[in-house]
């Protein structure tokens, strides 16, 4: 039963981290290239565009849920299991979500990179 709680927590952390990352990425694509905007329209235009984008706030909310789930999951399981497992699943989940929701071209090279980094993080933090 304890394992179910721990893995439920890990999956919840990964899910909300992916949702947060995707929403932030979508929001920043809607804002536009910050370098070009800064050059053309100045800092306040960039700040205004960021703060009026609802996806930013939804992304931050999703990341907040992921953070508090991490705190709860750490009270059920070891840090050496929860943190690397959640980080690895987030890397793989982001590759799927970016392909489906952000329409990124996730080719073989990017899949290999995501799997290598996810495995590396699991080994490093485990």
């Amino acid at each position: 039963m304890k394992h179910a709680y721990i893995w439920g927590g890990i999956l919840t952390i990964a899910f909300f981290s992916v949702v947060g990352d995707v929403l932030l990425a979508r929001a920043m694509k809607q804002v536009g290239d910050v370098h070009a905007l800064l050059r053309r329209a100045g800092l306040w235009t960039v700040v205004g565009r960021v703060l009026t984008n609802p996806n930013i706030f939804m992304g931050v909310a999703a990341m907040t849920v992921a953070f508090f789930t991490l705190l709860f999951a750490l009270s059920w399981g070891d840090l050496s299991l929860v943190a690397p497992a959640a980080a690895s699943l987030t890397f793989i989940g982001n590759a799927f979500a970016a392909k489906v929701f952000l329409h990124e071209k996730v080719d073989r090279r990017r899949w290999i990179a995501a799997v290598l980094v996810a495995t590396g993080v699991a080994l490093l933090a485990g």
Partner: protein
């Protein structure tokens, strides 16, 4: 008539040269942004962790002590570094794919492990060295790929590309802004 065409072409050529110079500068800045995400993320985590260890364990029922933890200089510095990380990460996401930014900035994990070995003189196990090799390999795979593959926001269209389209189609610059394939935008990214 011919003289006016020559003048227009010369002006276009000059605009292309100016924009290509600007693109190069931005490219260097983009690499700096990615490096900043990596370094500020790793530094913020370790400084914050150091500060929290100085404070000792905090009970979840004692929330005010979490707020007062900000008064610790290491915790405050860690928060500032992590804020810089968030801003730079959002900047990178404005011109690069999520599946590019995440692996490209994962070298922060490697930096943390290397600083543990060479600054804190901690023992790094064989498995951790293997993890470092795998992450570095993943970053190497991403390094050669285009930064942006999704359809870019129209603000991301550089004047250089608009001028190139205009020169190709014989239409005024900006007229073909919405028809540009994503691959053209890629060429103005980190790759160039």
């Amino acid at each position: 008539m011919f003289a006016r065409c020559a003048q227009v072409r010369q002006r276009q050529r000059r605009a292309l040269q100016d924009d290509s110079t600007t693109e190069c500068q931005v490219t260097f800045r983009k690499y700096l942004v990615l490096a900043g995400v990596t370094v500020f993320g790793a530094a913020g985590d370790s400084v914050l962790s150091h500060g929290m260890k100085q404070l000792g364990s905090i009970s979840i029922h004692d929330l005010p002590s979490v707020i007062f933890a900000v008064l610790n200089p290491f915790v405050a510095l860690g928060i500032v570094l992590l804020l810089a990380f968030i801003v730079l990460n959002m900047t990178a996401l404005s011109w690069a794919d999520l599946t590019y930014v995440l692996p490209a900035t994962s070298m922060g994990y490697v930096l943390l492990a290397l600083s543990a070995r060479f600054i804190l003189h901690e023992q790094v196990s064989v498995m951790r060295w293997l993890g470092i090799v795998l992450i570095s390999g993943g970053v190497g795979f991403i390094a050669g790929s285009p930064a942006l593959t999704s359809h870019a926001h129209e603000d991301q269209r550089s004047p250089l590309l608009a001028a190139q389209d205009a020169a190709r189609n014989g239409a005024p610059a900006g007229a073909s802004d919405h028809d540009a394939p994503a691959e053209e935008v890629i060429s103005g990214g980190v790759e160039s």
